[in-house]
């Protein structure tokens, strides 16, 4: 009986391992525009686990990802631009995905968001530029995603907007010069914001709104109306952040003061030299 149980266990284990290996072996690499003309076609045709490599160019389309794929640019965000064809939709959306990745794109031109994650988990968003949209990056009901080296700047509203999203890690990103706020967490708990820049936004650098247990560490918030603002939020850890709201306005005044002192020193020195 015991031997039979062990045998069944080993068989199930072996089958699962084979299935995993088979999935990895079947992971294909799809090239855009070589294999498919648009990114959307490539995504629709891809299977879970596939790599989609996108060559440089401007792609006017809205991309919706609903499966575990890796979408990566070959030449980086400066040369690979996805511009929203339908402005009412996000430029790139991840919906109900676990473990996808988007790397190295400029995502622009949307009246909703450059990049939108909805009910997305364990995905990696690396080295993208979500600039000049309504929001740069939005997360809704999304958990345990990792964002690094992205920019979400010059957007009409927020750079990063997290709504009811928990346990995400946002590290080494920039959310500058947005017309409302740099990073806005709304009803979002246990997220980590580490080493980000959120500067020169019209209102707050970082806002926590009814959000609890978040970690804000070593972020830089300069020249915003307010640096870091927490509203109805508890148990958040704020450590090593630099918040200097508009302190650099003092610098020109100090320089003028130094200029006046410099004038007086020069005047007295030259008077002494010319004996006048």
């Amino acid at each position: 009986m015991m031997r039979q149980k062990i045998s069944i266990f080993l068989t199930v284990f072996l089958l699962l391992s084979l299935d995993s290996v088979a999935t990895r072996l079947h992971a294909a690499t799809i090239q855009v525009p070589d294999n498919y003309r648009t990114i959307r076609e490539a995504v629709d045709s891809a299977s879970a686990g596939d790599f989609i490599l996108v060559n440089g160019g401007v792609y006017r389309e809205n991309v919706v990802i609903k499966k575990t794929v890796v979408l990566k640019s070959v030449q980086g965000p400066a040369k690979t631009i996805i511009s929203a064809a339908v402005k009412k939709e996000p430029t790139v959306s991840l919906i109900d995905v676990d473990g996808a990745a988007v790397a190295g794109f400029t995502l622009t031109g949307s009246d909703k968001a450059g990049l939108s994650l909805y009910r997305t988990r364990n995905s990696r968003i690396v080295g993208n530029r979500a600039d000049n949209n309504y929001n740069g990056v939005t997360l809704e009901a999304s958990e345990h995603n990792f964002f690094t080296e992205n920019t979400a700047s010059s957007n009409v509203s927020y750079g990063f907007y997290l709504l009811r999203s928990h346990g995400n890690r946002i590290e080494k990103n920039a959310a500058n010069s947005n017309q409302d706020q740099g990073v806005f967490l709304s009803y979002s708990n246990k997220n980590s914001l580490v080493n980000n820049n959120s500067n020169m936004n019209t209102w707050n650098g970082i806002t926590l709104w009814d959000s609890h247990g978040n970690e804000l560490k070593d972020n830089l918030t300069l020249r915003n109306a307010f640096g870091i603002v927490t509203v109805d939020s508890d148990d958040n850890v704020l450590d090593g952040n630099t918040t200097l709201p508009n302190i650099y306005l003092i610098l020109p005044i100090v320089l003028i003061y130094i200029g006046i002192i410099s004038y007086l020193i020069q005047k007295n020195t030259l008077r002494y030299i010319y004996k006048v």
Binding site: N199, T242, Y248, L255, G259, Y263, Q266, L270, V276
Partner: protein
């Protein structure tokens, strides 16, 4: 404190700051010169003024090299340069417009304030 001082690790901020200091000294001595000539004021005005113009040129070249030659920035730099040249022309020729020279000097201070503000790194 280090965060405030760290802005001076940026070379364009240093150049713009020095320019504002020199332009301020030049402006005050210029106002004194309008009231009456003095060798001391003249030396201060010219030395500080021309140093500030050289720094302005350096800043303009650095900006255009780093960010590329684009229409609006180029137009802004040329406009500021033309204000400097018009001010020099009025002072040299001493024509009717000379009475406005202190206003021109004030405009140059405002230009330097703007230059300092936009060159503070974020």
């Amino acid at each position: 404190m280090w965060e405030i001082l760290s802005v001076f690790t940026n070379i364009s901020t240093v150049v713009a700051s020095l320019g504002l200091v020199l332009a301020t000294s030049s402006f005050i001595s210029g106002l004194q010169l309008v009231r009456g000539a003095s060798i001391v004021e003249l030396k201060i005005h010219r030395y500080n003024g021309f140093s500030a113009i050289i720094l302005f040129m350096i800043l303009a070249v650095m900006s255009l090299v780093n960010s590329g030659v684009r229409f609006w920035p180029l137009l802004a730099w040329l406009t500021a340069l033309s204000i400097i040249l018009i001010k020099l022309y009025i002072v040299r020729k001493r024509k009717k417009a000379f009475k406005y020279v202190s206003w021109m000097g004030g405009t140059l201070i405002l230009i330097w304030l703007f230059l300092v503000y936009i060159h503070i790194p974020v």
